[in-house]
């Protein structure tokens, strides 16, 4: 495998994990525009643990994910009281606050960035992505996954059937935080350098964009969206400077034709039927 291919695949793996981080709350109808903020928490805390405290990489990255999840749970309480676009804006603000603090935190290099000593290659990162995908498959088939979809479509009715809506949403938000922290930890230990600027609202927005594009109804949607987002600009690489232009045009086009995302539940069921017949 060429270095180029490995680099693209690593990026794809990290983007897939980040996509599932955004998907869980999104499946329950919550637009989390703070995913990059949680990634930053995971990246910085794992980097500090492995750099300064000599933790092993798996331990440090796991701890980073837990930190991000813990923070998600802590801020989830107040933030999730807001709804719809208000929630999107609240998480967006959260993202900017986290980034602003990190840029000013001299312990971790401030705006100059923070070098990470430990390094992870493609294999462990791809394994993590595969693990996250399996976890998503599992959750998607669980009652939690079903309740999330139900809440997204009809919160009132779901609550009347006894589902504790705020608790369920907090659970999704927290698991999303853990996954984002994981993606951040992996990112930092792969690229060996992190800076606050990278974890901007634009990154959060791009992640949500990829999930919506892939489709939120099925477990496959986020992976498809992440692949679309990571690979499409590479396909257009020949067009050099034009690639993001073409990519953006593709996004607009897809959303105009298929606002429910590339893959819907109905598509998936049709696909299964075809496979079974064949």
């Amino acid at each position: 495998m060429s270095g180029y291919t490995a680099a693209i695949l690593t990026l794809l793996a990290i983007n897939i994990i980040a996509a599932y981080a955004a998907w869980l709350p999104l499946a329950a109808g919550q637009v989390n525009l703070g995913t990059a903020g949680f990634m930053a928490i995971g990246a910085y805390s794992s980097a500090v643990l492995s750099n300064e405290f000599d933790w092993s990489l798996p331990m440090a990255i796991a701890a980073g994910a837990v930190c991000a999840g813990g923070l998600a749970m802590a801020i989830g309480g107040p933030v999730l009281r807001t709804r719809g676009l208000y929630l999107a804006l609240a998480t967006l603000a959260f993202n900017e606050v986290v980034r602003g603090i990190l840029i000013n935190l001299d312990v971790v290099g401030g705006a100059a960035g923070y070098p990470v000593i430990g390094h992870l290659g493609l294999a462990p990162i791809a394994a993590c992505a595969a693990g996250v995908f399996l976890l998503a498959l599992w959750l998607g088939a669980s009652r939690l996954g079903m309740n999330l979809h139900a809440i997204e479509q009809d919160e009132t009715v779901t609550a009347l059937f006894g589902v504790h809506v705020p608790f369920t949403q907090l659970a999704a938000f927290t698991i999303g935080g853990v996954l984002a922290g994981l993606a951040g930890g992996l990112y930092g230990h792969h690229f060996s350098f992190i800076e606050g600027q990278h974890f901007s609202v634009l990154l959060s927005v791009t992640i949500v964009l990829s999930v919506v594009l892939g489709g939120t109804q099925t477990v496959w949607g986020p992976a498809i969206g992440a692949a679309f987002f990571t690979l499409l600009p590479e396909i257009f690489r020949g067009a050099a400077a034009w690639r993001y232009v073409l990519f953006a045009a593709a996004v607009i086009l897809v959303m105009a034709i298929r606002p429910q995302g590339l893959l819907t539940r109905a598509d998936l069921m049709r696909l299964r039927r075809v496979v079974r017949l064949a």
């Binding site: 676009l85 606050v97 232009v245």
Partner: protein, 291 residues
């Protein structure tokens, strides 16, 4: 010192006012969080530079920039809101983000990503009142912003189009029943709101004499905060919110450092969303009901 900061804050706030009003028009009337606003802002500012750099006169360059931004806004209406209205509000939001990436990268392809210095047509015209320096371009910008909002207010109150927009904002179905055609009113609203933020971009470039393809991102986030702070869908709320955010930013720079600005501004946004999501002057029914 404090007087100078007050002046600077209000001047900066004048820019945010226009962006916040633009956001609030889209949100209040169409329930659409339009993320192409930063790109329209950038088009206004950047194309003014491009026009001047290509040898056009100032007024002509501004006119050209505003025209392109207005057409861009109409394109956004056609390909996002018109196709996706009635569905979940997230969908047009995502599409409009696509347009943000599209416009920024189109400019990038043509002119590169560097920030460009743009000479002020007014030179270094200043007013001095005691120790306080008031930049004339900035002052002009602030006055223009506020008068435009007054103009908008008059348009909404006194004209047929304004009444149509307001009925649409209250209840689209009733408006349709009365004979308001959404597909005719919406493009005009996009034109109006698009011009507001493009003009903010022009004023920004004239006041701060620097443009780049990404100049809209941070300003738009501040404008968004201003809209939320003032109360989504409320025009005068957006004005107050814009001025407050401008003041907060300048005072945060003075008291802490330029790097802390975002922590303070977005901290305020986060807190205000948690404590009072409807903002200072927002209609509690708006947003709650529509979403």
């Amino acid at each position: 010192m404090i007087a100078q900061q007050l002046v600077n804050g209000l001047m900066l706030g004048g820019i945010y006012v226009l962006v916040a009003v633009s956001f609030t028009l889209f949100f209040g009337c169409l329930n659409f969080l339009n993320f192409s606003v930063p790109a329209l802002f950038m088009l206004g500012g950047f194309l003014t530079w491009a026009g001047v750099a290509a040898g056009l006169s100032w007024p002509l360059a501004v006119l050209l920039a505003l025209t392109v931004a207005a057409l861009a806004s109409l394109l956004v209406e056609r390909l996002t809101w018109r196709l996706q209205r009635g569905g979940p509000p997230l969908i047009p939001l995502v599409s409009s983000l696509g347009f943000l990436i599209l416009f920024e990268n189109l400019v990038l392809v043509r002119w590169g990503s560097d920030a460009r210095a743009i000479p002020s047509p007014f030179g270094d015209a200043n007013w001095r009142i005691g120790d306080v320096v008031i930049g004339l371009p900035q002052l002009f910008g602030l006055i223009l912003s506020i008068s435009l909002v007054f103009g908008l207010q008059a348009l909404l109150k006194r004209t047929k189009l304004g009444r149509g927009i307001r009925s649409l904002a209250e209840n689209a179905e009733t408006a349709t029943m009365l004979g308001v055609e959404v597909d005719r009113v919406a493009p005009r609203l996009f034109l109006l709101a698009g011009l507001f933020c493009a003009l903010a971009g022009v004023l920004f470039s004239l006041s701060y004499q620097l443009v780049s393809p990404y100049m809209g991102d941070q300003v738009a986030l501040k404008g968004l905060s201003a809209m939320v702070l003032g109360g989504m869908g409320n025009i005068w709320g957006a004005v107050i919110g814009g001025l407050v955010i401008g003041l907060v930013e300048i005072f945060a720079v003075g008291a802490l450092s330029a790097d802390h600005v975002n922590v303070v501004v977005f901290g305020i946004l986060l807190l205000s969303l948690i404590i009072k999501p409807t903002g200072l002057f927002g209609d509690p029914a708006l947003g709650q009901q529509k979403l």
